[in-house]
Symmetry: C2
Subunit: 202 residues, 2 copies
Amino acid sequence: MKIYQDSSAPNPRRVRIFLAEKQIEMAYEQIDLSNQQQLTEEFLAINPLGQLPVLQLDDGSYLSETMAICRYFELLQPSPVLFGKSPRQQAEVEMWNRRMEFQLLLNVAHCFQHGHPFFAASKSQSAEFAEISRQRALKSFDQVNTWLAARPFIAGDQFSVADITALCAIDFARVIDIRISESQPHLADWHHRISSRPGSSA
Amino acid sequence: MKIYQDSSAPNPRRVRIFLAEKQIEMAYEQIDLSNQQQLTEEFLAINPLGQLPVLQLDDGSYLSETMAICRYFELLQPSPVLFGKSPRQQAEVEMWNRRMEFQLLLNVAHCFQHGHPFFAASKSQSAEFAEISRQRALKSFDQVNTWLAARPFIAGDQFSVADITALCAIDFARVIDIRISESQPHLADWHHRISSRPGSSA
């Protein structure tokens, strides 16, 4: 098995941290987004959507979508549990992970993709939408700070994939010049604790 | 248990069809999006994001996010399997469901939310981004048609939650005046088969 990825992008980082938390060794092959290597004919045969990460399985087939890859490894090696254990816990983790994806990561990614000159050649951009997304991302930082006042981890008492999603989204927000502010102490404390985990440097 | 929902919106429809396919009886309470009932103080106490659907559990607690609700019922009542069975099948269903969410449903929803006068009061809009999203949705209809040339269902040989997501996205695209075209015969055939299932009228 190996994973096609780019070291600078948030979704491949989610998978790298996920596997590090499970102490699963993996081979990685760099697909250079800065050279648009994900849009070459060769890579589009691997993932027609031209997105990273992609897992190549031992039978030569491919699996894409960050959460599909993470879930696959959760099923192959359940411990440590990162998607919740009981039906209710699994549903809670799914809810919180989705909230982190749609409120944090998607708004940050939209602001970056619609506002950065790098994407001008390959994607249709809207500077107006980039600004709307920036405002939503800022609001979500506040919202997550409020949620973390009542719980040590995003999905409650246990570290989960929702913390990984939130960490990657928040760190990636530096590309659009958004950082945790002094008015967000719960978010800052959580960020310090999660960043200090060995897996987070993967 | 009961589910707060709106009969006109695509995400509540995904849950209704999912439960109908599993033949799970459910009580539904209408939250009227056309009157912005999802933004009342009362409803924001149920889901601070002001989104539908929300499941109220028997202990009085709430679970939101469409896929969290569906997964919860998949775990409570696995048959018929709608998220895949083996680890590899579960990962495939996750991949295809995510593709249907991000390529189809999200683009359709963005075009609607950024282009329709109804949202002008409650959301920041970008007409420019609405048009970008429309073009992406049109392209995704073609892409899904191509994928369906090689397989009876979105995720392969079995009906799954990915078919439910795609059906709700495609039917909802009527609000932005996008329909399956004559140049998309595989998509048309699939749509006819999926629409004919008893659960699809839920």
